[in-house]
Symmetry: C2
Amino acid sequence: MGKEFVKSITGMDEDFAQWYTDVVTKAELIDYSSVRGSMIIRPYGYALWENIKDELDNRIKETGHENVYMPLFIPESLLQREKDHIEGFAPEVAWVTHGGDEELQERLCVRPTSEVLFGEHYKNIIHSYRDLPKLYNQWANVVRWEKTTRPFLRTLEFLWQEGHTCHETDEEAHEETVKMLDVYAELCENILAIPVIKGQKTEKEKFAGAKYTYTIESLMHDGKALQSGTSHHLGDGFAKAFGIQFSDREGNLQYVQQTSWGFTTRIIGAMIMVHGDDRGLVIPPKAAPTQLMIVPIAQHKEGVLDFAYGLKDRLAGSFRVGIDASDKKPGWKFNEYEMKGIPLRLEAGPRDIEQNQVIIARRDTGEKVTVSLDELESKIAKLLDEVQNNLFYKALKHREEKTSVALNFEEFSEKLNTNKGFIKAMWCGDQTCEDKIKEETGATSRCIPFEEEKVAAECVCCGKEAEQLIYWARAY
Amino acid sequence: MGKEFVKSITGMDEDFAQWYTDVVTKAELIDYSSVRGSMIIRPYGYALWENIKDELDNRIKETGHENVYMPLFIPESLLQREKDHIEGFAPEVAWVTHGGDEELQERLCVRPTSEVLFGEHYKNIIHSYRDLPKLYNQWANVVRWEKTTRPFLRTLEFLWQEGHTCHETDEEAHEETVKMLDVYAELCENILAIPVIKGQKTEKEKFAGAKYTYTIESLMHDGKALQSGTSHHLGDGFAKAFGIQFSDREGNLQYVQQTSWGFTTRIIGAMIMVHGDDRGLVIPPKAAPTQLMIVPIAQHKEGVLDFAYGLKDRLAGSFRVGIDASDKKPGWKFNEYEMKGIPLRLEAGPRDIEQNQVIIARRDTGEKVTVSLDELESKIAKLLDEVQNNLFYKALKHREEKTSVALNFEEFSEKLNTNKGFIKAMWCGDQTCEDKIKEETGATSRCIPFEEEKVAAECVCCGKEAEQLIYWARAY
């Protein structure tokens, strides 16, 4: 194997950040450009995003939502309408000040999120309870002026969907907030094989302008947490700022109750850091652009390529199948598709033709099995299921091993430094304690889990009475 | 029928511009916002775009292209690398000068198109003829700082796909340019029922930085032309500006040959202006978000709603079907779905139940037919085909009636003012004549058609010898 074909990557446990950078570039998910903090999403990365997007878009439509498209730019005065919102976002927006040679009278910000645009539109189109609920979603790019960036995890620009809905009652908005968090959680667990903790953000960590924020939190290989999707009950704050009123069933004028919820290309970063290993990416079969890659062995021998292409045609209706019949050596191809995290590799050579079989290798365990052609489809389907499940349970086991309980501040710091991962600990509800923990340990409150639990009676920080358990972690 | 339900629109022949505005707003395709020159694409408009996008995306993938995503921002220095390109685009770009509170050291333009970003990336990833061709596409929003704007036709921001490819030879790039123009033409004619003229742009009208530009041109109801898709052979201009070189099959270093091609939300404006009428939108069945709308008649009577929903369930697997069982009057519903251009309306009432039939009304001709339930699917399929074909041939007939030949300047002006539409006339090839025609008549050269024709031996403007026939028109 020629040296030019070897793509070596840094070991995960040696330097996790470098490992991540190696994987995203060498698996050809992204490339850098001269645009600071932005990334080029390459064909393989974008195909992955398209799969995730299609899965989510189907779920968004099945739950009754409609897609729309809002403008990219927001006039400064519009962004300022909701006070908490502008305070939260102003420090991180990009400002357009000139169009062509002309200086603009009012600056335009490049949308960091679109609550205010939806607010203005909803005021125009909602008049009566008959107009409700309004269940809108948009797929878009957004920009946040981040200082330190990393492909997928934190970039100046990212791709996402943002749902924005209006309801008659607080209760209905609450149900929507829960429903969409459940959609995100189901997608993460069933398609991306990423186990998540569902819960509520603290006041400090909630979305700027929301009544409350629900979140799903996942845990990466290195023990850091990653916020994987959020769903906000906005109450009537934006409705009041934008005057979105309707006559209710009794003929009284009311403000609508709103929600918003978002899911981003960030999840690709989570998928990499949850499942990847020292040989590169590992992609769960349900999300994989290619589920099975056929590599002909001794392809110069008579009949091998015909056999391999025959298999591809046979399988293409049932699975996402690729074939590499290039003149590169099989060993190079094995490395390449392992780096790219393709769930199954199918090897087919002269001996296999003779014996009416193929060899299938699993990316997740490295296991190789011989499969008779008579049961090829059923065996591949079974293997793909097994890979999908194995990835999920492996990640769940890892999260459980990396979740500790802390009863006091010393224990908190010690477990955070040794075991890393999530720390479950009680909290009095006072932001001073939350701030102190962040400042002294680097851990932030990830969420108050929906599955209530009580591991002690006192706050892990101040020792005062505490009712709430929090998942804490250092986070991306 | 209550007055509040009536959505009246301006007559097409009374004030075509106002008719257009009425249609896009009252059919709920778009809404305005406080963002100058931008539009909100509402659910019905976006569903239409999603259908067009899916059709085109399938064709782009079937022809071997891969989707990628490039950054939204372009540093000023990068945009300036290709001289003709920056000259063409600089007057119409939006500039970001601040990120948060900080003034940027280098301004960033919001992409008006992405040739330079692809150029930089291609330099990184192309080294050998083995890396070619590279066939990339992206779906994105772009911004052009237009002074006068109109929904879909000319907006500050629009949605599009932009293909960017690299090839070994000039000939291959030429084939790609032709192939993608053909894809656009086929989509316009077969899905959107818009007949197009294929041809080449003059030097004056070609894309900034291209070797040559191919275009498809269509004709609107009011006799103005609309450029409906363009495909550019870029030659090696960008390759030289960005240093995109490869070692060829003989081991020599060569510059790649490139193409780019784009298709935008503008086509929705074309669809409206080609097929619409005084009752509103008319959408070709293959592009329609809803192909058939069921309107129950006397729905308070026993069995009617069950019957109507039964039909919906029966048809939903074969067609895109809607049902309106709201308490609005049938007359209101008829108007509403005519305004929205839904190809077929199915009326189902007590008499129909008795007689095992339904009434189907065509949006394009107003014709009503009684259809037995025994042949419902086949009859609907046939009607949808007929509507699709009728729209295409009606548009083709209109274009033919609005296409004149002019042999001299007086005839040119006269026919342009009376018959409007396309003028076919000879041109000497001199830009002075092209400029003069534009200045004195408002018509621009739309294209030199691929189907060559010679209607005279002299230039329509200067009377000198002329070889090329041009389609001229006033245009959107």
